[in-house]
């Protein structure tokens, strides 16, 4: 890490040391939870109650306040996983491995939510639960990619090896995601004729947009909370024989 200035490198090493990270996570989680609620409540209120009813779709469009942020998160988390995979492979940073592994189920969860809400939304829109729409199809493939990461990690016994394997897979996946995305989109226009995508509204009214953005940020904060919790657990599992975990146990018992 010679090309990184020493103070920054020191900061990273300190933050990345498991006990330090554990304490830091504990300090941050309550604040993040408060922030999450502060964003979620006005977001939901604004989206479900204050925003006007859509003249075409009625109230059923309101599912976008869950669907769209979840779909954004599903992609965002995968990209983040690949970044952490790169860090884990290049700098052998344990914390990046832990973050990568902990992110996978959360990302899969968001992808699943995006699929289910998309399908629920499809019922009043198209009259059927499932349409091979480009967005839904891409989301389904993304779910497969997440499940691949999770099951590969579960199958390899040695945890450091598993982290290495998953890092490689996440990087391979992230290179493929745009290719998959554009080929699916191309396939979709080809087989169904150009359909008006649900999000391609020429303009979305400001009273609808603000709650949507609030929800998007709330989802990001939720991800941060879930990630810190999962990472804490993963660290405890991995470092169960380390001194700092033993000290922690003595304190709580």
């Amino acid at each position: 890490m010679s090309f990184i200035p020493a103070p920054i490198s020191r900061f990273f090493h300190r933050t990345a040391s498991p006990p330090h990270f554990y304490a830091l996570a504990n300090r941050f989680i309550p604040w993040l939870t408060v922030l999450f609620l502060l964003l979620l409540i006005p977001g939901l209120y604004g989206g479900l109650i204050m925003a006007p009813t859509d003249y075409q779709q009625g109230d059923s469009y309101r599912i976008i306040y869950i669907h769209v942020p979840a779909a954004w998160m599903s992609l965002f988390i995968y990209v983040l996983m690949a970044v952490m995979g790169g860090i884990a492979l290049i700098w052998r940073m344990k914390l990046a491995e832990v973050m990568l592994i902990s992110s996978a189920p959360i990302g899969a969860g968001f992808t699943f939510i995006a699929l289910v809400t998309g399908s629920l939304w499809g019922k009043p829109m198209w009259g059927t639960w499932w349409v091979w729409d480009a967005r839904l199809t891409s989301e389904l493939i993304l779910l497969f990619l997440y499940l691949g990461v999770i099951s590969l990690h579960g199958a390899i016994e040695d945890k450091r090896n598993a982290a290495r394997a998953v890092s490689i897979l996440a990087l391979v996946g992230v290179v493929n995601i745009p290719i998959i995305h554009y080929s699916v989109e191309w396939w979709n226009t080809l087989h169904q004729g150009p359909t008006v995508s649900k999000m391609d509204k020429p303009s979305i009214h400001i009273s609808m947009l603000i709650p949507l953005l609030l929800m998007a940020v709330a989802f990001k904060v939720y991800y941060a909370i879930a990630l810190l919790q999962a990472a804490k657990l993963e660290l405890l599992k991995r470092e169960s024989s380390a001194q700092w975990v033993k000290n922690l146990l003595e304190k709580t018992v």
Binding site: D158, R160, S240, S241
Partner: protein, 210 residues
């Protein structure tokens, strides 16, 4: 073999654990041409793991390995090292000669020809036999012949005596003796005691390396 005198394997403060169990830590040693290192220790003490770390198959948790003063990944280490492990590394559907010729394509050729090496390991005349028709001991001899036909300074041998008869054991001891005499180095694990007292032999007991 006109190897430069400064060739040296140095291991500094190496530690390794498996499944949360510390195998060894703070391991230091160095090996120079003409020396043999015998790793001892009970089952599960990390002998094989250490050999695999030295081969670069496995990463150590901590510590460094130097070859002629440079970290092994930046040195000629992999061109200079041969490994004979539990698996023979031969293809059973190929003949003995085909296997050896392939090994030769991957590295510098040594001073033995394939025929001479087979004679040396007492497999003369087996060139065209498929490896799957050989016995376990004979397969082991094929992997020993691989050491002879290539030009490697460091031999890393994991339990080389298994499945060999009395004669085979003497054979390996002679090969090791000859190799170190010519400035080679050998690291091996074994339950047998080497019966060559005039060799420059180091021993490391892994059970005590914590």
């Amino acid at each position: 073999m006109e190897h430069l005198p400064q060739i040296k394997l140095e291991v500094a403060d190496l530690s390794c654990s498996r499944d949360d169990r510390l195998l060894f830590s703070g391991l230091n040693f160095s090996l120079s041409p003409g020396q043999v290192l015998l790793l001892e220790g009970s089952n599960g003490s990390g002998k094989t793991t250490l050999l695999r770390v030295l081969c670069g198959f496995r990463e150590a948790d901590d510590g460094q390995i130097f070859w002629s003063g440079q970290p092994i990944t930046e040195s000629t280490f992999f061109a200079d090292t041969a490994y004979v492990g539990h698996a023979d590394g031969t293809k059973k559907e190929l003949t003995v000669a085909e296997n050896l010729r392939f090994a030769l394509a991957l590295s510098r050729s040594g001073k033995y020809s394939i025929e001479a090496a087979l004679e040396k390991v007492q497999l003369a005349g087996y060139d065209d036999n498929l490896v799957q028709t050989l016995s376990a001991g004979q397969k082991r001899r094929v992997s020993l012949a691989r050491l002879l036909i290539t030009d490697k300074i460091l031999w890393i041998l994991d339990e080389p005596f298994t499945s060999l008869d009395r004669q085979g054991i003497t054979l390996i001891e002679n090969l090791i003796y000859e190799h170190v005499k010519q400035g080679g180095m050998v690291i091996l694990t074994s339950h047998h005691d080497l019966s060559l007292p005039q060799m420059n032999l180091q021993r490391i007991h892994l059970d005590s390396c914590h």
